[in-house]
């Protein structure tokens, strides 16, 4: 049975309609229409907003605002968002990237949501009609969220300061075994002065690797320097088992891939010299 779609010109009106039981917000359709096709009987209707600000990307003074309806393809081809191209292209194949939105990715369950891993490392702010939330807070509360996400914002990291890696069994498009994003700041002597590392597929939603971040401080990005961080990389994780990988496998390979990311041993990755 087809599910009714209501289209509103403002987020405010769409938010009001979203309060009805069984109503889901329609972004690119790659999550909610998929769920409806699969037979999710909790969905009875769709709501969407066509407010133009939700489809805009603004880059100004080193800060970025990406409207929630912006697609992965639009991010990947934006001339000022080259830092994020790798993360945006990690999502699906070409057709999915033309449809999947930033707002939807925030709600994507494991093993999806690779772009949100990048946003978590970037310490993004998630804006809704009801106000702004740090992404970590938003992710913790997302299951009960009924406010439409309008945009995400973050400060652009310095050149080479952002690293992203998606590990999948099938190239070039495959579902994640895991994904890792890191924002690293280094002092003049090469030691790490600040680190923010986010992991995908290591819990039911993207999470921070806080023990590894702490263990990196004051260390150089060498095999010896990162060893303490790799030793605690799995701390606090609870990876899932699915047809892509078992929880055991994910836990075993996380330090391997984190090590490659930190040492700049990922093909095509740009790092600060």
């Amino acid at each position: 049975m087809a599910l009714a779609l209501q289209t509103f010109s403002t987020v405010k009106d769409a938010n009001a309609a979203l309060k009805a039981t069984g109503t889901r917000y329609l972004g690119g359709g790659t999550l909610v229409v998929r769920a409806a096709n699969e037979g999710d009987v909790s969905i009875s209707s769709f709501v969407r907003s066509t407010e133009p600000s939700q489809s805009a990307i603004t880059v100004s003074g080193g800060t970025v605002r990406i409207g929630a309806s912006v697609t992965m393809a639009a991010i990947a081809r934006h001339p000022d968002l080259g830092t994020l191209t790798r993360a945006a292209r990690a999502v699906g194949g070409p057709a999915i990237r033309n449809m999947a939105t930033v707002g939807g990715n925030l709600f994507a369950p494991t093993p999806y949501g690779d772009f949100t891993v990048a946003l978590l490392a970037l310490d993004a702010t998630v804006s809704t009609d009801g106000g702004d939330l740090p992404i970590e807070t938003f992710l913790a509360k997302r299951d009960g969220s009924h406010a439409i996400v309008t945009s995400v914002g973050f400060a652009l990291p310095p050149q080479g300061g952002f690293r992203f890696l998606k590990v999948s069994r099938i190239k070039p498009k495959g579902i994640s075994v895991l994904s890792i994003a890191a924002v690293l700041e280094q002092a003049a002597d090469g030691t790490v002065s600040a680190a923010r590392i986010a992991l995908g597929c290591m819990a039911d939603r993207p999470m921070r690797a806080k023990a590894a971040e702490k263990a990196l401080l004051g260390r150089k990005l060498t095999s010896d320097g990162i060893a303490p961080a790799l030793a605690v990389a799995s701390e606090g994780t609870s990876p899932t088992t699915d047809p892509i990988a078992s929880a055991w496998y994910r836990a075993q390979v996380l330090p391997v891939h984190l090590g490659r990311l930190l040492l700049g041993q990922v093909a095509g990755m740009e790092t600060k010299a």
């Binding site: 359709g29 790659t30 229409v33 194949g93 070409p94 057709a95 449809m99 070039p172």
Partner: protein
């Protein structure tokens, strides 16, 4: 449930239908309009068999609601041949034995068409990337990749 109007161009021809609200584009194309070239495979956005081109972009018609396509220009594989002459991609798929059961072929051709529209002389890697959202369970992909490269060469020679 009240019907809602949808209007778009399909392969250059104006189409207008009344559909149930929330109907997918795949359902509207196949069961209302009668264009059965997009195939319903997984209905999950995984197989790419339902791929169509909407306003120049490759999209999955199984995850697209028809109402969101009002005013759009939609292209499907059934609109590629002209006057009974196959499109170079269709010709290349036949010549390269790039189709066996044929279920994935319309989606593959749509993905390949978008690629060649933007990148007339793609590398093999670019072809693989362009087809990465489309699953084929017959051919092992190699004949499909070769067909797309052949069609690109054919286009280049015709343009020269």
């Amino acid at each position: 449930m009240a019907k809602v109007p949808v209007q778009f161009t399909l392969n250059g021809a104006e189409k207008a239908e009344f559909i149930d609200s929330g109907t997918t584009l795949l359902h509207a194309l196949r069961d209302k309009i009668g264009d059965t070239s997009p195939k319903g495979g997984c209905h999950q956005g995984t197989c790419g068999a339902c791929s169509v081109i909407i306003d120049g972009e490759l999209r999955l018609s199984c995850l697209t609601l028809a109402e969101t396509c009002n005013g759009a220009a939609i292209t499907t594989t059934s609109g590629l041949s002209e006057g009974g002459v196959l499109h170079p991609l269709q010709r290349a798929f036949l010549d390269a034995f790039a189709t066996q059961c044929g279920f994935c072929t319309p989606g593959m051709i749509m993905a390949a068409k978008v690629l060649l529209d933007h990148t007339p002389n793609p590398s093999r890697d670019e072809v693989v990337e362009a087809l990465s959202g489309n699953i084929c369970r017959c051919t092992g992909y190699e004949p499909i990749i070769q067909a797309v490269l052949t069609a690109a060469r054919s286009n280049s020679q015709n343009a020269a």
